[in-house]
Amino acid sequence: MPRPSLGLLQGTVDVLILRTLTWAPMHGYGVSRWINDRSDGALAVEDAALYQALHRLERKGLVSSEWGISEKNHRAKYYSLTPAGRRQLRAEVAELRQYMAVLFRVLDPA
């Protein structure tokens, strides 16, 4: 049974995708599976949002794509991280971390 999933903060989908692609080039389905598995289903990225993000990221030059053959011999589109994407990921993670730190400093009782 799928557990109720956490709502995702605005813009976090992009970071998640970029982070996922640091492991290996993946197709969209692979990315969705990977995020789902890693968060034990807690971070559910909607498929529509995922694909929109992938194409948006590609246009920005943060990921690049290539058609390849999947494990089960299907033709699939593989995404990989570009050097620009890697830089972007580092920057966004740092920013997010700082944001979270500030957020928790406010939320946590002293």
Partner: protein, 890 residues
């Protein structure tokens, strides 16, 4: 896992079509939905349910599909754009690097291009200024010039008398406006006094319709009204913008003021717009024609002094307008004895009338510079072909690495265009200097010279010419370089071997270059020869050491009774200046007008011969010493002396042409010619001089003593010891000692007057020779380039020949022979072309035929000589080839 995606994207080519993008997005989403459905099917759902579940979980599928497509299409477009820009940048960087690596080639190409494009730009700017720029009044295409024509005397473009003009004006229905003016450079003008220094200013005397015909309103004030152009109420003047600024500092309060011109006050009515300069560039004022007294210029039918312009009525063609006025002329000719044979008119667009004479020389020059540029292009194309041979391996390697033919072609063409545009930029700088120089030289010689400048249109032309040149010389070598067989080239070993085809192409280019050079040099040779003939014309007088001073003596200051004394005092006083040998006076200097026409001179018939003949003959009023001062020889009888006074019976001196024609085989001295009621005796015959132009032989001419028929204009010829200009100030002082208010119109030398009449042929000859020399040098450079390259390519072969015992002589013969063969082929083609093309020069040549054999022979000799030198140098290099080394360096 697929093989690692990496740099492959950089090589993706060609780009994706929109249809491909759509298919990709659909396939990608289908793949995802299929995997999801498999997941659900594995969890136990039926196939249909699993598919439905997958689609439902996906979210907004259609929106996502559209979103992804849009993103991808946009990405493709952006990357395509970026790639082109990047490649262009790469190409330019690459081109610059490759030009830097061949500085010799780049320098030669750049300089020759700069010269070629510069010359083209400069000449085009002149053509544009003089021939193409609109005239300074609206709808100029409706404005025509009208001349009186006498077909039987072969005079198609004569000026018009006032009675004739008035009849035309009264009868014309096909003209919206018809008007006349009198303007004579250096002749029509007035003495301006009363404000600052007295000054001679140039003006045009117009009928009141003049400004209406041209549709030129005044910029300030107004122009002349009909009621302000009648005798008694015509002392009005309209100023030119230039004169207004120069003399009045653009002061608008000048309107309504009175200016003293020739001693009479004239009210300023208006100032014209800055660009308005009809009929010539340097006009100071316009004034009613009626201000010229009838005893100044006669108003009888024989006094043809007016230029007539008309604006055609809407829808009327020049032919219809011609027919209308020609009918009037025919009618008058039938009724008036003075207008006999003047049965026709000639009508031409006013632009042709303004620039007609210089049109052909300018177009000839434009053609000549185009030839220079073509030779330049052939030359550079030839150099590029040689370079392409040397770069075959580089190109082969690039295409082996995946660059397509189009890509390499583009890169090679970029190199050519970079070269051409750089050359063009340099050329524009040269053209700027050239136009300034031309402006200085040609200002007096070209109509509308003030309109010549380098403007946006000229710059655009230079850009277009540069681009065309770049494509012209770049395309052929680039196509050839990229069509080579890649495999063969890579196999060909370490040395780039020359393709026989490449060498053949270069030889063809050289032949073309030589042929073009022949045409150019023939043109230059003809113009130069014609100019030399012109310089060698014997004018019949001795212009050296003669100071030419022009005065005007207003009849208001010196009425008839005081005139002779003043006149004599002037001549005597100037003659007394130390170093002055003789002083003579005439109405017009030679080459500055023909004096006036005596309308009815009767040559008495001989007993038993033809009856009396009535003639129109040029008449010059001269002083006693005029012939001595001008160095015109006396052939028979006597010249005028101090004994010829205004109260003694008038006598003629005539020229040889008159004596020969009307008194053949007998002495003219002692014969009489009748004018009106008086019979006047011929007392002397003098040598013929070129009075009208340098190119026209003398016509029968009458001379009469000045005092016996006074005129207001006075040209003084002062023969001096040594350089006449050294005496200019002394002569001026002498004049002012007699009358300190006498205005002096001009002081120059007679040599300068003669020189001035050949200034335009000189300009044409100079420029054509300049372009001819450029063509010759470029042609020689072309031959040299091809041979030098051929020698370096054939090192081995020549080495073997030398090793096998070939004599230096035979090696020289081999190389020089190749060069001369090319040159000969070019010369043959060129001579044929020149015979066809130099015909356009015929109209501007003087006593030289366009097919002048001597010129052709000389040009062929010069070109073959240049070709020989250009072949000799590489041949010498071939001699120095050491067979051992040449063979070892295989």
């Amino acid at each position: 896992m697929p093989r690692t995606p990496g740099s492959r994207r950089a090589f993706r080519f060609p780009w994706l079509s929109t249809r491909q993008v759509v298919a990709d997005v659909d396939a990608e989403l289908a793949f995802h939905l299929a995997r999801k459905a498999e997941e659900f099917a594995a969890a136990g759902l039926s196939a249909d349910d699993a598919r439905r579940e997958a689609a439902q979980r996906f979210g907004d599928l259609e929106y996502t599909r559209r979103y992804c497509r849009d993103e991808d299409v946009r990405r493709e477009r952006e990357s395509r754009h970026m790639t082109i820009m990047q490649e262009l940048e790469q190409d330019i960087v690459y081109a610059l690097r490759s030009l830097r690596s061949a500085p010799g080639f780049a320098l030669v190409a750049l300089l020759t291009l700069a010269l070629g494009i510069g010359a083209n730009t400069a000449i085009f700017s002149v053509v544009r200024g003089v021939l193409l720029r609109p005239l300074p009044f609206p709808a100029a295409e409706q404005v025509v010039r009208v001349w009186h024509a006498n077909r039987s005397a072969n005079e198609a473009r004569s000026q018009v008398s006032e009675p004739d003009f008035k009849e035309w004006l009264a009868a014309s229905r096909r003209f919206a406006s018809l008007s006349a003016y009198w303007y004579q450079p250096g002749g029509s003008g007035a003495d301006l006094t009363g404000i600052g220094n007295p000054e001679r200013i140039e003006g045009v005397y117009v009928t009141p319709g003049f400004f209406e015909t041209l549709r030129a309103p005044a910029a300030l004030g107004r122009t002349i009204r009909p009621e302000e152009a009648v005798i008694g109420n015509d002392r009005f003047v309209v100023l030119s913008d230039g004169f207004w600024r120069r003399r009045f500092g653009a002061d608008p309060s000048v309107i309504g003021r009175a200016l003293t011109m020739d001693g009479v006050p004239h009210t300023v009515l208006g100032v014209m717009a800055p660009g308005f300069n009809f009929p010539a560039d340097r006009i100071d004022y316009w004034m009613p024609l009626s201000t010229i007294p009838a005893d100044g210029i006669g108003r009888q039918r024989s006094s043809r002094f007016l230029d007539v312009i008309g604006r055609l009525a809407p829808g009327v063609t020049p032919v219809q307008a011609h027919d209308e006025l020609a009918a009037v002329a025919r009618r008058t000719a039938a009724q008036e004895p003075e207008a006999k044979d003047w049965t026709d008119v000639t009508i031409a667009p006013v632009r042709e009338a303004v620039v007609g004479e210089v049109r052909r020389p300018l177009l000839v020059l434009l053609g000549a510079v185009a030839f220079v540029l073509l030779i330049t292009c052939a030359n550079i194309a030839s150099l590029l072909l040689a370079r392409a041979t040397a770069r075959q391996r580089e190109i082969a390697v690039r295409s082996a690495l995946g660059a397509g033919r189009g890509r390499i072609l583009r890169q090679l063409l970029t190199e050519s265009l970079v070269l051409a545009l750089a050359g063009g930029a340099l050329g524009v700088a040269l053209a700027y200097l050239g136009v300034r120089a031309l402006g200085a030289v040609g200002a007096a010689e070209l109509p509308r010279a003030s309109a010549i400048r380098i403007d946006a249109v000229v710059l655009l032309y230079a850009l277009g010419v540069s681009t065309a040149a770049g494509l012209l010389f770049g395309l052929l070598p680039a196509l050839r370089a990229t069509s080579q067989n890649l495999q063969a080239m890579l196999r060909a070993g370490s040395r780039g071997s020359v393709g026989a085809g490449g060498q053949r192409l270069r030889s063809t280019l050289v032949v073309a270059e030589v042929a073009l050079a022949v045409v150019l040099v023939v043109g230059a040779g003809l113009a130069a020869k014609s100019f030399a003939r012109l310089l060698n014309v014997d004018p019949g007088f001795q212009p050296t050491n003669v100071l030419a001073v022009k005065l005007s003596i207003p009849s208001e200051r010196y009425p008839d009774e005081r005139y002779p004394a003043y006149y004599e005092a002037l001549l005597t006083r100037i003659a007394a200046v130390p170093g002055v040998q003789a002083v003579g006076a005439a109405k017009n200097f030679p080459l500055r007008g023909v004096g006036e026409i005596a309308p009815k001179v009767v040559v008495p018939g001989k007993a038993g011969g033809a009856g009396d003949r009535e003639l129109r003959l040029p008449l010059l009023h001269v002083s006693a010493d005029y012939f001595r001062a001008m160095g015109i020889p006396l052939r028979a009888g006597r010249v005028f002396t101090a004994a010829d006074k205004d109260d003694t019976p008038p006598v003629w001196v005539v020229n040889e042409a008159l004596a020969r024609r009307y008194f053949p085989g007998e002495s003219a001295v002692g014969k009489t010619l009748r004018v009106g009621q008086s019979s006047i005796q011929i007392v002397g015959v003098v040598g013929d001089i070129r009075q009208r132009t340098l190119t026209e032989p003398a016509e029968p001419t009458l001379y009469i003593h000045y005092l016996q028929n006074r005129r207001s204009g006075l040209s003084l010829a002062v023969r001096t010891t040594g350089d006449p200009l050294r005496y200019a100030n002394a002569v001026r002082r002498a004049i002012w000692e007699v009358d300190r208010d006498q205005t002096i119109t001009s002081v120059e030398t007679m040599s300068a007057i003669v020189g001035g009449t050949v200034a335009r042929p000189r300009l044409l000859a100079t420029l054509l020779v300049l372009f001819g020399v450029m063509g010759l040098l470029l042609g020689a450079l072309g031959i040299y380039g091809v041979l030098a390259f051929a020698v370096s390519q054939r090192r081995q072969e020549i080495g073997v020949r030398v090793a096998l015992g070939a004599t230096p002589r035979s090696v020289l013969a081999l190389v020089v022979g190749q060069g001369m063969t090319l040159a000969l082929a070019g010369v043959v083609v060129g001579v044929v072309g020149a015979l066809a093309l130099t015909r356009v020069l015929a109209a501007v040549l003087y006593e030289v035929r366009a097919t002048d054999p001597a010129t052709f022979v000389m040009v062929v000799a010069v070109l073959l000589g240049a070709a020989f030198v250009a072949s000799w140098l590489p041949a010498r290099r071939a001699l120095r080839i050491d067979p051992v080394q040449a063979l070892r360096y295989d």
